[in-house]
Amino acid sequence: MHRSRWSTVGPVVAIALALAVTACGSSDDRLVVFAASSLTDVFERLESDFEAEHPAIDVVVNAAGSSSLVAQLAEGAPVDVLVTADTDTMSDAVAATPTIGEPVTLVRNGLVIAVERDNPLGIGSLGDLADVVVVLAAPQVPAGAYSRSILACAGVAVDPVSLEQSVRSVASKVALGEADAGLVYRTDISDDLDAVEIPAECQVAAEYPIVLLDDTPAARQFLAFVTGADGARVLADEGFELP
């Protein structure tokens, strides 16, 4: 009987120790950046440019849906810099965790209709979406909320075949040819896709706020880099509008 009691306590202690060790595992030269999934490509470039300038700092980018990022943050993920795809999720993050200073707008983005390359169906307007196979982002993620307001503004009733978890899945389903069209950020248009513009009166101004969550020199250097001239060049090159 004794043996069985200790054999239960031992592992619990071991696990508690293991958890304690991982919790103190973050070091100064490793910078964790949480970025909205529509920033995946541009942050890969920013990461390698920054690391080239600061070889001692290892930047790790975790790109996912903004709300997922905030959820991970709220569960205690160690994050130094956060960039979300809208101000609402940023407000959630600010409410959930202490930040260093106020969030500032890093870039702006707009939505477009993504169609297959060369637009074989000749989709020219939001109204055409009523008659084709459409995939949208789910209203729970920023791109989906924007899509919904754009379609409401245009007065178009669309019957999407799927409401995707992330805007990147919308783009990939159109690129694979399984959907005829979808609403994505302008910056999600890859080589396999063409963009059809959305009329200015229904366009949204998606703002990407950035905020520091950890007051380290590396984090400050990274913020200065992406909001500075070097960062601006890369961001503009990837199709983002600068604030």
Partner: protein, 271 residues
């Protein structure tokens, strides 16, 4: 009780320690889930049409998938174990690969085979206007692709390990191959068959990656419980936790129910 204890052989201390550690590792996440669950909002959860639709869709599709898996998987296992058909090793290898393949990759593969532009899906769309992606059928196809190997490989292994003496005796007595299979072979491999079926169902119920890729995520049509849980994580962590808990409860209820009824030999109970 006493008799049982005496009959149990001594277990080395390292086995007890590592085994307990392993058990704790499995139990802790469930404890976390239950500890964090906002139990009071459970009634609200089931009042939500989207949640009910996801639960019903998950149960219906996973059961249909299991049916198809039995219908197709047992014959595959029979062929693998007993026939001299060429390419058996290849089929066995493909089954294993689709088990370990990241499900998202399986979803992309299904697109390339059965999608609008797919090798089979393309002609199907052109000839009959049938398009599989984004339909409930696509959910079943995704689940079947990922889950059926569990049945095939379990039954294949059991058939190969089976002593053929009883079957030969039945054959000598004039039983047809079909009769021998149903009356002698199947009862002999019943534990493996049942555990294969249960594993397949459980895997189908939890299927996520292939489904979200190939079938998309539309409430009532393709958004199963795992997809609804992941989406809820975007803006309603409490709902995500409750949805996970419901899925866990359903799995437990079914597995325990089966264990009591007729899985005895396959799960837990000592022979």
């Amino acid at each position: 009780m006493n008799v049982e204890r005496r009959a149990r052989p001594g277990i080395p201390v390292p086995v007890v320690v590592l085994g307990s550690l392993g058990a704790v590792f499995f139990v802790v996440p469930f404890v976390g889930l239950i500890a964090r669950a906002p139990v009071r909002s459970i009634p609200d959860l089931f009042a939500d049409d989207g949640v009910r639709a996801a639960l019903v869709l998950s149960l219906v599709t996973s059961v249909i998938t299991t049916g198809f898996a039995i219908l197709l998987g047992v014959p595959i296992a029979w062929l693998l174990a007993r026939s001299a058909l060429p390419g058996r090793r290849l089929v066995r290898a493909v089954c294993t690969v689709s088990m370990v393949l990241p499900p998202v990759v399986a979803g992309v593969a299904l697109f390339l085979a059965l999608g609008r532009r797919g090798v089979i899906g393309g002609p199907l769309d052109d000839a009959f206007g049938v398009s599989l992606p984004f339909t409930t059928a696509a959910v079943v196809i995704a689940q079947l692709f990922v889950a059926m190997p569990f049945l095939v490989l379990t039954v294949d292994a059991a058939l190969r390990a089976l002593d053929p003496a009883a079957e030969e005796a039945a054959r000598t007595l004039g039983g047809s191959e079909w009769y021998v299979f149903l009356r002698v072979t199947v009862p002999s491999i019943r534990p493996a068959l049942v555990s294969g079926i249960v594993l397949t169902w459980a895997r189908a119920l939890g299927e996520f990656g292939a489904t979200i890729t190939f079938a998309g995520s539309l409430p009532g049509a393709t958004r199963t419980m795992p997809l609804a849980t992941y989406l809820a994580l975007e803006n309603d962590t409490d709902q995500a936790i409750l949805l996970s808990l419901v899925l866990v409860a359903v799995s437990f209820a079914v597995l325990f129910g089966l264990r009591e009824r007729w899985v005895g030999a396959a799960f837990g109970a000592r022979p």
